[in-house]
């Protein structure tokens, strides 16, 4: 005999403003099988939970429905409360009358009727809930961090310091990410590499960190606590165990003209190279697309070409025959920290984005982006830290910095703010003025967003001490005119159009996630938004988790972010991982499927559709030990609870706990209005 308790929450004004909660409770009180119904201001509060526990005990409730916010918000809260009152937690369900009702409708009568329907539906479902016990599974106490920039390095260090092994996978030849390319960081003007390289070395030397550079994640199997990740170690063409980083190979390489990715295209490198002198690990790779020997092999030329690096290498570390290697790592948790790339204003754009024809599609010389300016300003950059025009090497006397190129621009496909550009534009203006004392720095801005600690003081300093000229307005056109770059814009505070003859223009282009992020997200089964930024589990309260248990996210791959916030987020993911590893076993929701062996016909259609391989064939034997039939058998430790097996089962022999046919049909019935 069902005795369901229904608790309708006002959620302050959030629900009560639109839904007559008392009326909903009253309507449910008359519903068959409901033994108790009441409404209250804040069900999730201590007194609210006390009401539920009191009713469970006094009214001997067999099930609880809390009509309030989304189960994604508070299902755990109320299940814990029910458990504390002695009711199995899986006999407690939530009816969503806030996100799905009071917040999206205005008409009180319609909203109240809908809330009543929703509560009734869940009350009917709960009558078919059965007590369930949590499942315990073992946890592999090793973590993987994907991405070796500042966020990935921080997460790896924190987890390693916590006593657990970490595999740090980085797709480039060295860790360090974009922070290694910067000259100085705001707001302190610290030398970027000076504060980064000690961390890089620490990660390299840490006994708990296994560094895999020039490597990418190929595939991921398994689930939280039990991931199997296949990593592709791309062929360096150098034996990392033998190489001692002397650099003789690079000196011997006849190809010095390949554009350097690290110098953002402004400098060159050899075909065998380390990306920058402080690279970690200090082991070169051969860029096979630009190496004479490999280009010849690709063309089918039999004669061995070049090979000067191998000749120069006294340790014999060069290995032209090296192949990609696939390595499987077993880990219990994964942190995604793949960082960002800058939007390019060029003609070729991925789907959904547009280039900036107004600014010349990146074809005007001396129009560069923020990372390129960083390389010019950097003491170890292609111009040894002198600001020079890429076209003729002269020092620019006037530089125009343009804010919001691509960002905050729905026309170009990116309506978000990239957060860091206001700060680095001020920084660039300051660095330029420090180096070229009589230079003119003009910044076209929409707003100046300097909200961090010391940030506003920093931007003020750019104006008051370093003479940066801020013009509020947008730039409508940039084009080359002889030796200068003409910048046509508008000064909205001065109410006049402005045209500047600049020697160089620096565009603050939008921050976007790295290329290949969507494929990586699909490999990890995490969701992402239309720009590719990884989705957090909850924007306010769960910013470093994803909706895939065991996969966490840190840094600019989730949203545009500066260094301190990326570091903080990385440490937060480490805390989550260490918490996960702190128990001997992991508790899992018992939302798993089970086969009724009496009715199963052994067709194994379920086995074919299960995405996790949780289904196996099982022999049923008679007393004499002879096999009489084969049936399907589901491993509760592997099953993730999608229910695809149940939907395809020809003999209706599978039931998915917490979403049984009875439960779902009772919900459909509850909505029926034909007798």
């Amino acid at each position: 005999m069902a005795r369901v308790g229904v608790f309708v929450c006002h959620c302050g004004e959030n629900i009560a403003r639109t839904v007559d909660c008392a009326a909903v409770a009253e309507a449910l009180a008359d519903h068959p099988g409901v033994a108790h119904a009441e409404d209250y201001k804040y069900m999730c509060s201590d007194p609210g939970q006390a009401l539920i526990k009191r009713a469970i005990i006094d009214k001997r409730l067999t099930g609880v429905v809390v009509a309030a916010c989304s189960p994604h918000m508070h299902e755990k809260t109320f299940r814990r409360a029910a458990s504390q009152a002695g009711l199995n937690p899986f006999l407690c369900e939530m009816a969503n009358i806030r996100e799905h009702c009071s917040w999206i409708h205005e008409d009180r009568e319609a909203a109240t009727a809908k809330a009543t329907d929703i509560a009734r539906t869940i009350a009917e479902k709960v009558k078919h809930n059965v007590p369930l016990e949590t499942i315990h599974i073992p946890v592999t106490k090793r973590a993987m961090v994907i991405g070796g920039g500042i966020a990935g390095i921080q997460a790896a260090l924190d987890i390693a310091d916590g006593g657990h092994e970490v595999v740090l996978v980085e797709k480039d030849a060295s860790i360090g990410g974009h922070m290694a390319q910067l000259s100085e960081t705001f707001p302190t003007l610290d030398c970027s590499q000076c504060i980064l390289t000690p961390r890089m070395v620490e990660a390299y030397q840490h006994p708990n960190i296994k560094l895999m550079t020039w490597s990418e994640v190929d595939s991921v199997d398994g689930y939280i606590g039990n991931f199997k990740v296949t990593v592709r170690k791309k062929a360096r063409s150098v034996d990392a165990d033998v190489c001692n980083g002397c650099g003789d190979c690079m000196a011997a390489c006849p190809n010095r003209r390949t554009p350097s990715e690290f110098d953002a295209g402004l400098g060159t490198r050899s075909a065998i190279y380390v990306p920058f002198p402080q690279a970690v690990p200090n082991t070169p790779v051969i860029d096979r697309a630009n190496c004479g020997r490999f280009k010849a092999i690709a063309k089918g030329i039999k004669k061995e070409v070049c090979g000067k690096c191998a000749t120069a290498c006294l340790k014999g570390a060069i290995d032209f025959t090296q192949q990609d290697e696939l390595v499987t790592e077993e880990v219990g948790a994964i942190v995604v920290a793949t960082g960002y790339q800058l939007y390019s204003i060029g003609r070729e754009q991925p789907e959904g984005l547009k280039g900036y024809g107004e600014y010349g599609y990146g074809e005007v010389p001396d129009v560069i982006d923020g990372l390129q300016f960083e390389r010019l300003a950097s003491a170890s950059g292609p111009t040894a830290g002198e600001i020079r025009r890429p076209s003729d090497g002269k020092a620019p006397q006037t530089i125009v910095f343009v804010h919001c190129v691509g960002s905050r621009d729905p026309e170009k496909g990116m309506s978000y703010c990239s957060k860091i550009c206001c700060m680095y534009n001020a920084k660039h203006a300051m660095l330029y003025r420090h180096k070229v004392h009589d230079g003119r720095a003009v910044l076209f801005y929409m707003d100046v967003r300097a909200a961090g600690k010391g940030y506003d003081e920093f931007t003020r300093r750019a104006v008051e001490q370093d003479g940066a000229e801020y013009l509020r307005g947008r730039v409508s056109r940039i084009y080359r005119d002889g030796d200068v770059v003409k910048v046509v814009g508008y000064d909205t505070l001065g109410h006049e159009p402005v045209e500047i003859d600049a020697d160089m223009v620096v565009l603050a282009t939008a921050m976007r996630p790295q290329p290949g992020i969507k494929e990586l997200a699909q490999t990890l089964s995490v969701s992402y938004d239309e720009h590719g930024f990884i989705n957090e589990a909850h924007p306010k309260l769960r910013p470093v988790e994803t909706n895939t248990a065991g996969v966490f996210v840190a840094g600019a791959c989730q949203a545009p972010r500066d260094i301190p916030d990326s570091v903080a987020m990385a440490s937060a993911t480490a805390a989550k991982v260490l918490a996960l590893f702190s128990n001997a076993e992991l508790e899992r929701e018992p939302a798993v499927a089970a086969v009724n062996e009496a009715t199963c016909i052994g067709c194994l259609t379920c086995e074919r559709v299960c995405p996790y391989g949780a289904v196996e064939a099982k022999e049923i034997r008679d007393r004499a030990g002879n096999v009489v039939r084969m049936v399907a058998s589901i491993n509760p430790g592997v099953c993730q609870g999608c229910g695809t097996c149940q939907a395809v089962c020809l003999s209706k022999s599978i039931e998915l706990a917490t979403f049984t046919d009875e439960q779902i049909h009772s919900e459909i019935e509850a909505l029926a209005f034909w007798p």
């Binding site: 089964s525 909706n547 979403f659 034909w674």
Partner: protein, 171 residues
């Protein structure tokens, strides 16, 4: 059971009843986001939560119509984004077939919406709801199904014509 029903509503205008079968990870969360963003929409839809669109038995849809729904929405994660990696592919195939079958047995395909709504697409969920409600409102209440369900066995046109068929075959 609930009030007056399809013919009632404000000013006597027909208000369709829509049952929505949505997956927990994408569309349900997308609908939550629509709520958090206070995106107002038609109030005719009642959501039934499932772990995955792969769990959805076509029988649920048939049952929903049988019990009074005028329209049904089935919505899940975009292809390649299923939380359980492949459930939505099975759903896609299943409902491609089911749409044909439903249309064959006389359920107007305009009464069913199959959509992919991700967890960040609150606005898209609002559009799916409003579009479905408008479309089903134009189609009117699903009375044909009720008439069929209410018919006692052995009466009515369809049976008579089958009998006629047997007579013809015997001749």
């Amino acid at each position: 059971m609930s009030d007056g029903g399809n013919g009632g509503g404000k000013g006597g205008e027909f208000e369709p009843r829509i049952t929505a079968f949505v997956c927990n990870w994408c569309t349900y969360t997308g609908a939550d986001l629509a709520g958090t963003s206070r995106l107002h929409m038609a109030s005719n839809v009642r959501i039934i939560r499932l772990p995955c669109t792969g769990r959805i038995d076509p029988l649920f849809i048939v049952k929903a119509f049988e019990r009074g729904a005028d329209g049904v929405i089935v919505s899940g994660c975009h292809p390649a984004d299923c939380h359980y990696t492949a459930g939505n592919y099975h759903a896609r195939r299943r409902f491609a077939l089911f749409r044909e079958l439903a249309s064959f047995i006389g359920i107007d395909p305009g009464r069913m919406t199959f959509s992919w709504v991700s967890a960040s697409e609150g606005a898209k969920w609002r559009d799916v709801v409003d579009d479905t409600v408008a479309r089903v409102r134009a189609l009117g209440p699903f009375e044909a199904y009720r008439r069929l369900v209410d018919q006692p066995a052995g009466t009515g046109e369809s049976y008579a014509s089958i009998e006629g068929l047997f007579e013809e075959a015997a001749r």
